[in-house]
């Protein structure tokens, strides 16, 4: 494929510039491996809780509430950074490995056992949730 330099490129770049300026800035999470229109709610037991920047990560042995006949799997949950979590009231040791939890998150496009955190509740009355429209990812 030949590349045009000079005039045609200028014109194309200028055209793209005009289009780009006309396009509103997108504020949502960019196109990654999660969908933003399908959520999964998991019920199970935390196996690992790891707070960290830029993303925290949890593991739980769980199955989806909508698929009670599915086998138990060790799911992972990508979650916000510690400041956002503590901002929800969720301290590092509030929920621990061994606690029974219910977590909702966005599903993956490829169906792998991982979700993008939206909210969590445990059997001690804790409930924390993320305002998903502010989550811009990394």
């Amino acid at each position: 494929m030949t590349r045009n330099r000079g005039m045609a490129v200028c014109a194309a770049a200028l055209g793209v510039l005009l289009v780009a300026l006309a396009t509103p800035i997108l504020a949502h999470h960019s196109t990654t491996m999660f969908v933003n229109d399908k959520t999964i709610t998991l019920e199970g037991t935390m196996t690992e809780v790891a707070f960290g920047n830029p993303h925290s990560l949890f593991f739980l042995d769980a199955k989806p509430v909508e698929g009670p006949n599915e086998p138990m799997k060790n799911w992972s949950v990508e979650a916000p950074n510690p400041r956002r979590l503590t901002g929800m009231g969720w301290q590092r040791d509030t929920i621990k490995a061994g606690d029974k939890v219910r977590i909702t998150g966005y599903a993956r496009k490829d169906g792998k056992p991982q979700i993008l955190f939206i909210e969590i509740s445990d059997d001690k009355g804790h409930h924390f949730s993320e305002k998903r429209e502010n989550y811009t990812g990394n």
Binding site: M1, R3, N4, R5, M7, V9, C10, A11, A12, A13, L14, V16, L17, A20, T23, I25, L26, S30, T31, T32, M33, E48, V49, A50, F51, G52, N53, P54, H55, S56, L57, F58, F59, S76, K112, Q114, G137, N138
Partner: protein
């Protein structure tokens, strides 16, 4: 000798005008180092340039008064790059494994094209080089450090690295930077938009708005991945000298580091499984 016909003259002027219009978004951008006039370093440049900077798009900050941001940051850069990706590069993006190949997943450097406008950075200097920590230069979080050598041209066979081989020279008050020698592990943006080792980044940095802002005009080219180069302009406000450089680490707790590496290895194993399964479906005995 005949006078140039009026219509031809007007067409020529029209070409000059359009060329001028095209040059305007990237004001002083020229096509290569050779076309600019190299000068000695400005007297006292280190004192002026060294320090802490904060990018546009922080709350309330857009660009210095009188200056227009020509390309907003991601995700609109994503759209721009998408429009320029060659078909095979687009296809490569579709088959890229985010978990295994996004350098940021386990805190490998994210490269010189991510975390652009919104990042802070610090400039450090010696007589031989100017070093940028963070900002355009990658994020501090993931080891984004570029050393821009002022005392030499490009190495003959630079090792291919995340941040490339960057060299700079002065053209009056403008620092002109040229970078090649990139590995293929980083992306054009936080989407899997892949570049090749032919990535070539040219930058022109200069102070504007009463020396309060640093303007960076960045031209990104990759003759194998893009159909054309693109140029972005970014503004960074110079902060007071006493501004702290906070410690910033990617996956900054041992448990987070271990957890993400565990996830990475899980995806690695899944990937190997899938490959093996695909392989077992291929029959080698049915060659005709």
């Amino acid at each position: 000798m005949n006078r140039v016909p009026g219509t031809l003259w007007r067409s020529a002027m029209g070409v000059i005008v359009i060329a001028g219009l095209c040059a305007l978004p990237s004001v002083a951008q020229t096509s290569s180092n050779a076309s600019g006039k190299k000068t000695a370093a400005p007297a006292g440049w280190q004192e002026k340039w060294v320090g802490m900077y904060e990018g546009q798009d922080r709350e309330g900050k857009i660009a210095p008064p009188g200056f227009k941001v020509l390309y907003p940051p991601e995700p609109d850069t994503i759209e721009l790059v998408d429009s320029l990706l060659q078909p095979w590069a687009k296809a490569r993006g579709l088959t890229t494994s985010y978990e295994l190949e996004d350098p940021g997943q386990i805190c490998r450097p994210t490269g010189p094209l991510r975390g652009n406008a919104t990042s802070e950075f610090e400039l450090l200097a010696s007589a031989e080089k100017i070093t940028i920590v963070g900002g355009t230069g990658g994020g501090i979080l993931t080891g984004g450090i570029r050393r821009i050598y002022l005392n030499r041209g490009h190495l003959k066979n630079p090792p291919l690295t995340y941040y490339g081989d960057s060299v700079g020279h002065w053209e009056g008050d403008t620092l002109v930077i040229d970078a090649v020698g990139f590995n293929e592990k980083t992306w054009f943006s936080r989407d899997p938009q892949r570049h090749t080792e032919a990535l070539h980044i040219r930058e022109r940095w200069k102070f504007v708005a009463n020396d309060g802002w640093l303007e960076k005009t960045i031209t990104v080219d990759d003759r194998f991945a893009l159909t054309a180069p693109y140029t972005v302009t970014r503004y960074f406000e110079k902060l007071p000298d006493a501004t702290a450089q906070p410690e910033r680490l990617c996956l900054d707790t041992p448990e987070a580091r271990r957890a993400w590496i565990k996830l990475y290895k899980r995806y690695e194993r899944d990937y190997e499984e899938e490959r093996k399964n695909m392989g077992s479906n291929v029959s080698l005995t049915e060659e005709r």
